[in-house]
Symmetry: C2
Subunit: 192 residues, 2 copies
């Protein structure tokens, strides 16, 4: 997606060989016009897949999930919660997700009543690196008997194996931008 | 706001005398059409206040912050992060926020570069109870030299002191629905 790639090239910061910082427009400060355009791009990619609901995980996935849901005509968003939330209740699906960014194991959870059997669900997230978060969400969808339509991701780190593994297992993954490498602080984006 | 009050009456669950569960449409599963309408209501309430930027705190405030920012013509959203995030960097403003819901002290942080001195900022959050989160965000705005325009809240617990204290200290607080009490599981909303 052109506008996102331009934003990454202009404002993204590459650190070392692995860290892509896009917190000036994606996951700390949010460029709301760009986020709205990303939502439309996800709609274009999945509009023929009869999506009933969008599933993401707090916190950084929520913005893109919201704008995608708007583009789909205001379908519901469900966001998985991390950790021990008193108000979520006990009647939840859970999955374990290792966060490389924060170097800890999170438990994510979704109330059972918001994922009905047979529901067609699109996963949206801001980042795809090793694929831990998406696998955790897929685990929950599997427990709920939902149909995974695919995964829409704002920024994929193409040099980490998450996206490749998901595609090889048959998941429809659409990434709006793919980072192929970070070289001397410069973020190298995949063309096309 | 009529649609929100109707949703609270129809889908909200009161527990004990203090807990208002609205996770079926506000802070776990999101009714995106309703959230978009709430964003417009915040715009109506603050449209004459020359808002430059919306500040919220992850995770449940992000949806309403996004739709409000859209209603303001796509102004930026900044969301404060909780806990120790490696990618936020050291150049941050921090504040301590006690969460009654999760019974722990959180540190919230915002990168200094996203809050410029003199910027007119509207705080948006999903809930206002004791006011801890909003006070933490106000502390950060104060450190940054920003101008607090006011606070827009989806659901205020009118039986807890946060809203009253903020208004008495001169803050413009706009709550789209105010819960006055929970009686035998029934959520009593303030009229008008």
């Amino acid at each position: 997606m052109k506008a996102l790639k331009e934003a990454i090239e202009k404002y993204g910061v590459g650190i070392g060989t692995e860290v892509v910082k896009v917190d000036s427009f994606l996951n700390h400060r949010i460029d709301v016009a760009l986020s709205t355009e990303m939502g439309k791009a996800f709609y274009e990619a999945f509009k023929d897949d009869r999506v009933d609901c969008i599933l993401t995980v707090e916190a950084s996935g929520i913005a893109a999930a919201m704008t995608a849901a708007q583009a789909f005509g205001n379908i519901p968003v469900v966001f998985a919660k991390k950790g021990d939330h008193r108000n979520v209740g006990n009647d939840v699906y859970t999955a374990e997700v290792y966060s490389f960014t924060h170097q800890k194991l999170n438990v994510i959870r979704v109330s059972r009543k918001y994922l009905e059997k047979g529901m067609r669900v699109l996963i949206i997230d801001d980042f795809l690196a090793n694929g831990e978060a998406i696998h955790g969400l897929m685990d929950i969808l599997n427990q709920a008997g939902c149909v995974l339509v695919g995964a829409g991701v704002c920024v994929e780190k193409g040099f980490q194996p998450g996206g490749r593994n998901l595609r090889e297992s048959g998941v429809k993954v659409v990434s709006l931008a793919i980072v192929d490498a970070i070289e001397d602080g410069k973020i190298i984006l995949r063309e096309g």
